[in-house]
């Protein structure tokens, strides 16, 4: 059946889930193109999150639409929420390690809010070191 039956509810559900599957697959393709084309680690991280959150949501929704039962939706929501909880943590760790090992083009940043914090912490550590050397030892 190449042309869907648009007069019934089943045909419309098929069309919607097919569109969800295609868009979810195109999210993966967009992430791969972004990985190949973007210049540094932070902008590649921006592209890499597309299939992990929105792509997985679209594909799980198409599974729920295709199964035609209600009990699958809580299971799919649990799987998606688990992905939502784990992806920001790993992205944070990768981004922090990339900042510390200086895998970034500084001229591409519009603002660097972490730089002021790092400078302040370094100045405070240097001041405390100097005070310790003079008074206690």
């Amino acid at each position: 059946m190449l042309t869907p039956d648009l007069t019934s509810v089943d045909g419309w559900i098929d069309v919607v889930s097919a569109v969800f599957m295609l868009v979810g697959a195109i999210m993966s393709l967009g992430a791969a193109i972004g990985l190949l084309r973007f210049p540094d680690l932070l902008s590649r991280m921006h592209a890499a999150t597309k299939p992990q959150v929105l792509g997985l949501f679209l594909l799980l929704a198409s599974i729920g639409l295709q199964m035609r039962t209600w009990w699958v939706w809580p299971v799919l929501v649990v799987a998606w929420i688990f992905q939502l909880l784990t992806v920001p943590v790993s992205a944070h760790m990768v981004g922090r390690a990339g900042y510390r090992t200086k895998h970034l083009h500084r001229e591409l940043l519009t603002s660097d809010e972490l730089d002021a914090v790092v400078q302040k912490a370094a100045a405070q550590a240097a001041r405390e070191d100097g005070g310790d050397d003079g008074s206690t030892r």
């Binding site: 599957m21 680690l41 198409s62 799987a79 943590v89 390690a97 090992t101």
Partner: protein, 92 residues
């Protein structure tokens, strides 16, 4: 119609997996490779989801969750213990 969608998404996901593998092979730093392998795991999960949606079964759902756990643990571990081994750290 579902078979046409299956074929089209198989082609798209194969291209995406090829791009991620090229970035894993070429990636200038370790973190680029970790990020690209995370994307490759997401593409594998997407392929499993499309198989479930087209064939109308739920057998792979635990596998999708396990893949997301593996990606999480792997990228967090590597990012925690990554070190800078370049000669000139100013070059990205």
């Amino acid at each position: 119609m579902m078979q046409v969608v299956l074929a089209v998404t198989a082609v798209i996901l194969s291209l995406a997996a090829g791009g991620a593998i090229i970035r894993i092979a070429r990636g200038p730093s370790l973190l680029d490779r970790v990020l690209a392998s995370d994307v490759l795991l997401a593409i594998l999960g997407a392929a499993l989801c499309i198989d479930m949606a087209v064939n109308r079964h739920m057998n792979n759902l635990m596998l999708v969750v396990a893949i997301s756990v593996i990606g999480f643990i792997g990228s967090v571990t590597v990012a925690r213990f990554v070190a800078d081994r370049r000669e000139h750290p100013s070059e990205p």
